[in-house]
Each structure stands twice: as structure tokens, then as C-alpha cells.
């Protein structure tokens, strides 16, 4: 018997478990997956909770429901990964798991405590995040009775999970406050460390002013040093100050602690891997999938899904002694809510920036790239159903894993 061990039962890990159980022979392969939390979160749904569009129940299901028969699920924190000895030590009962092949899919997590002042006396009073279920629910409660004022959305540092979520939050907030009848009493500011809200040339050309048109003030190149929760202001390293009545923060994102403790990660605990095959350059039986990998593409579920498609084919080649093909191209595909029942869609990879066009059928769509449409909004809304019922179970999706230029134009 050979052992395939998967660490993390989030989006990437769960899809790997499902796909590999179908592809690998039951008599030859034992598959084990480890996670410390019972609940699977549909993380893209967190964005909608503050505005009352989704509730907590819309985004949670038990992880066990998605682990197929023939895969052992172990609930335990991970103490250490020891690739030199091909084994993983668990916190629960000091159990040791040996493996022949290891897939690390331990994800990325927010760290508000890394920025002074965020998690102090203002936390969940007038300082909120929306990247955790607790933050999103607390913010929803706060917004229900908020009477307006200065709302500042700050991204602490990149990379972050779902890099478009802050833009969506701003546009949904504009819509929400309009519906509440208080838009004229809310000042929305976006402070980002990037040189602008849109940085890619063609996306900037098509969407450049969309935030300004919605009355959002963009403060670029804002590197936050600290939050002053008493004076209610955020302060940058250049002593630029922004006062707030409501601060929504996207805290520093880091890989799992166990990655750092096991000496496998970079400065943010993300693990270096080959960007086309996910194989570790250091250990020839270790792969990293999803947000845990240090790859120059977006940390997002769509990327994890395309990545696992490419990985599973390659893994079958690899265990048969064939060379892996450099199939993964960094493909990402993201709906962007733009408020008032409309949405945008972007499709890109390592080499090709988001371009306008139609997706997935060239010339037909039904979705429009880099352009607002109601259809795009419905695509995003339907996606939750697809996620729970198809994607996470590793079933075929009608979308190719690799990006295509068909149906796009590059200007």
C-alpha cells in the first residue's frame, strides 16, 4: 500500500481528495486527509454577509460531507511536517503519519495582530474585518444600525486571498448605503499599498474610474504602520493619517503556522514550489496546492480548482515514472460584484493580463469580461450552488483548466 497524505481539507485539499480517490486504485493507495476544523466555509460568500445578502448558514457545511468514502479524515492540528523523514506529526495523541507522497493545502489566514492597534479596544466595535466568519457577522450587525460617517477600507499588505474582494466590498458598500438611504452621509475611502485600485494597463483602461464614479476616494501607496483606535485614525509609515468612524481592514495574510515552524515557508509562511507543476524544488514527493503555495497568481478558489485539475493528471504521470508536463498556467477566473445587481468578470493567467471579451463561449458568453453586466452578477450568485454541489466534490466543471485567448481581444 502506498500512502497519499493531504494536509488541509479546505477548497484545494478537498478537491484533491475527491479527484485522487476516483483516479487511484483502492487496493494500491491509501488516502488520508488531515484538518483541525470541522466546518467548511464557502469563503467567497463572506463578502456578502456584512450587507445582509448572505447569512452565516449560507456559507457553512460540515467538512465531513465532502470527504468521499475510501478517504480517511483525521481531525487534529498538525504539530510538524518532517519531509526529511517522510512523516507528519499530529497534535492529537502524538500520532505520526508516514507518507509516500504529501500534498500540502493548509491555506492562508489573516493576522490582524501583526499591525499594531487593529486588534485592540476598537476591535469589532468600529474596527472590523470581513475575511473571517466572525468578522463578517460582527460587521453585518454593526452596519444594520450604522448612521453613516467616514468608512475607510485598508489593505495592509499583499498578497491577500481573493485580491478583488476589497474592490467588491467598496462597490457593494456604495450600493448598500444607497439602499439604506444614507449614502449622502457616508464617505468611502480605499487605502491600498498598491499604486492604484487597478494596476494592469488594460483593466485600468476599461475600469479605471469605476470607483471614483461611485464616489469612492482612492488613496494609493498607503503603507499602514499602525491603527490609533482612540483617535480613530490609521497612520502610514510616511505619517499620512486617515481618520475613520468605521475601519474595515484586510489584515496581513500568512500561510499556516506549522509551515513556518517546520521551516518550509518564505517570510510569510508560503511554500516555494514549481509554478507549473506544484512540486517542491526541495523534496521530490511533496506538492503544494491552493493558497499555501508561494505562486505569482491569485490566492483564490478558482485558481485552486484549475490547479488541482492540472495536478491530478500530472500526479498520475509522476507515479508512473513519466515526466510531468508544465500544464498549470496560473489561470484565474473571478467574478467581481460591482453593486446595483451587476458584476464584472476577469480571466487571466501568469502571462496574460485580464482582457475584454466573452466567456466561456467565444462571441457568445453568456458572461462579459471586463464589462459590467447583470448576467455576471447572476453568475456569481449561482456559483455558490456550483461550489457546494460540483466543484468541491471534484466533479467535471464545463470550464477548461488552462486559459484560452478565444473570445478575447487585447486592447
Amino acid at each position: 500500500m502506498k500512502n497519499l497524505l493531504i494536509l488541509g481539507a479546505g477548497t484545494a485539499g478537498t478537491i484533491v481528495a475527491n479527484k485522487m480517490r476516483r483516479l487511484l486504485d483502492n487496493d494500491e493507495w491509501r488516502i488520508t486527509i488531515v484538518d483541525q476544523h470541522e466546518t467548511h466555509y464557502y469563503q467567497p460568500g463572506f463578502l456578502f454577509i456584512p450587507f445582509g445578502m448572505y447569512s452565516k448558514n449560507d456559507v457553512i457545511k460540515p467538512k465531513r460531507d465532502f470527504i468521499p468514502q475510501g478517504v480517511e479524515l483525521i481531525m487534529s492540528p498538525i504539530e510538524a511536517i518532517e519531509p526529511e523523514n517522510n512523516r507528519v506529526r499530529l497534535a492529537k495523541d502524538g500520532r505520526i503519519l508516514n507518507y509516500d507522497f504529501l500534498v500540502i493545502a493548509t491555506g492562508a489566514h489573516t493576522h490582524p495582530e501583526e499591525t499594531p492597534g487593529i486588534k485592540e479596544n476598537g476591535w469589532h466595535k468600529d474596527v472590523f474585518d470581513f475575511y473571517t466568519i466572525e468578522g463578517a457577522v460582527a460587521l453585518a450587525k454593526h452596519l444594520r444600525t450604522w448612521q453613516g460617517g467616514r468608512m475607510v477600507l485598508n489593505v495592509v499588505e499583499n498578497p491577500i486571498k481573493c485580491p478583488v474582494a476589497p474592490l467588491e466590498f467598496l462597490m457593494l458598500a456604495d450600493w448598500f448605503f444607497y439602499e439604506q438611504g444614507i449614502r449622502d452621509r457616508v464617505e468611502i475611502t480605499y487605502a491600498t499599498p498598491l499604486p492604484g485600485a487597478f494596476t494592469k494597463p488594460i483593466a485600468s483602461k476599461h475600469l479605471g474610474d469605476i470607483l471614483e464614479e461611485k464616489g469612492v476616494k482612492v488613496v494609493p501607496e498607503f503603507y499602514i504602520e499602525r491603527v490609533d483606535p482612540d483617535a480613530k485614525k490609521i497612520v502610514s509609515y510616511e505619517e499620512q493619517e486617515l481618520e475613520y468612524d468605521l475601519l474595515v481592514t484586510v489584515p496581513l495574510n500568512m500561510g499556516a503556522d506549522v509551515i513556518g515552524n517546520s521551516g518550509l515557508g518564505d517570510d510569510l509562511n508560503f511554500i516555494p514550489v514549481d509554478k507549473h507543476t506544484f512540486l517542491s524544488p526541495k523534496y521530490d514527493n511533496m506538492f503544494v496546492l491552493g493558497d499555501a503555495a508561494n505562486l505569482p497568481t491569485s490566492k483564490a478558489g478558482s485558481v485552486a480548482h484549475f490547479a488541482v485539475d492540472c495536478f491530478s493528471e500530472n500526479f498520475l504521470r509522476y507515479i508512473d515514472g513519466l515526466d510531468m508536463l508544465p500544464t498549470f498556467d496560473g489561470h484565474a477566473n473571478c467574478f467581481i460584484e460591482s453593486g446595483f445587481g451587476k458584476g464584472l468578470l476577469i480571466d487571466f493567467n501568469y502571462d496574460v493580463e485580464p482582457l475584454p471579451g466573452k466567456y466561456p463561449l467565444p462571441g457568445i458568453g453568456p458572461f462579459s469580461l471586463l464589462q459590467e453586466s447583470e448576467m455576471n452578477h447572476w453568475g456569481k450568485m449561482l456559483f455558490r450552488w456550483l461550489y457546494w454541489n460540483t466543484l468541491i466534490k471534484g466533479e467535471e466543471m464545463p470550464l477548461p483548466a488552462r486559459m484560452t485567448m478565444a473570445g478575447k481581444w487585447d486592447k
Binding site: E157, N158, P163, V164, L167, P193, L194, P195, F198, T199, K200, P201, A203, L207, E221, Y223, E225, Y237, E238, L252, D266, D267, L268, P296, T297, S298, A332, C334, I336, I346, F348, P354
Partner: protein, 105 residues
């Protein structure tokens, strides 16, 4: 794509003057871009940051974040803002011949 003459060498740049091919970069070019950006002299402290950013940038294909530079080059964030005033992330990327720091869209 346009070209620009920097320190007697013709290099490819984007519309904001960021080099698009990091292999065309030289130390003389770094000094010339630095003075255009208001950093008149590149001290050993500056070079520590630039050398580290080059190393990381060539490997990963994009300029490192400030946090990465702080940890990797061992230069405190406040000092980075002193060495490259007004937007060190952008300035370090430009002087190091790496593309402009970008998001996904």
C-alpha cells in the same frame, strides 16, 4: 512599448518609465533612475535593498513587497522610507529595473 536611453544604454520601458526587461538593467542605470527619482546618491544601505530586490525579483518575476524587503534585506521599514522617500515600493522596483508593483487587475 517604448524605449528610453538611460546611462548611455537603450532599454525598454513602459509609459511610466518602469523597465520591462530586468536583464537590461545595470548598476549605472540604477544610479541614473535613482537621481531622476530624487535619490541623488546610492549608499551601501541603498544597494543592500536594491541587490536583495534584484535577487528576489529575478527569481519570482516581480518586485518584492516592502515587508519582504524588510525581512529579507534586514532594513527596518522606517529606514526604507528614509532611503527611498515617497513610495519606496514603487521606487525600489523602478530603480532595481523590475516592473511596477501590480495587483491582479
Amino acid at each position: 512599448m517604448t524605449t528610453k536611453e538611460i546611462a548611455d544604454k537603450t532599454v525598454q520601458v513602459n509609459e511610466e518609465g518602469f523597465m520591462t526587461d530586468p536583464n537590461e538593467w545595470t548598476q549605472d542605470i540604477a544610479a541614473a533612475i535613482a537621481s531622476e527619482e530624487g535619490v541623488s546618491e546610492l549608499t551601501p544601505e541603498h544597494w543592500k535593498v536594491i541587490d536583495y530586490s534584484r535577487e528576489v525579483g529575478l527569481e519570482s518575476g516581480s518586485a518584492p513587497t516592502l515587508r519582504n524587503i524588510t525581512k529579507g534585506a534586514g532594513v527596518p521599514t522606517k529606514e526604507l522610507f528614509g532611503l527611498f522617500p515617497k513610495g519606496p515600493a514603487k521606487k525600489v522596483a523602478k530603480i532595481s529595473g523590475l516592473g511596477k508593483p501590480e495587483g491582479c487587475v
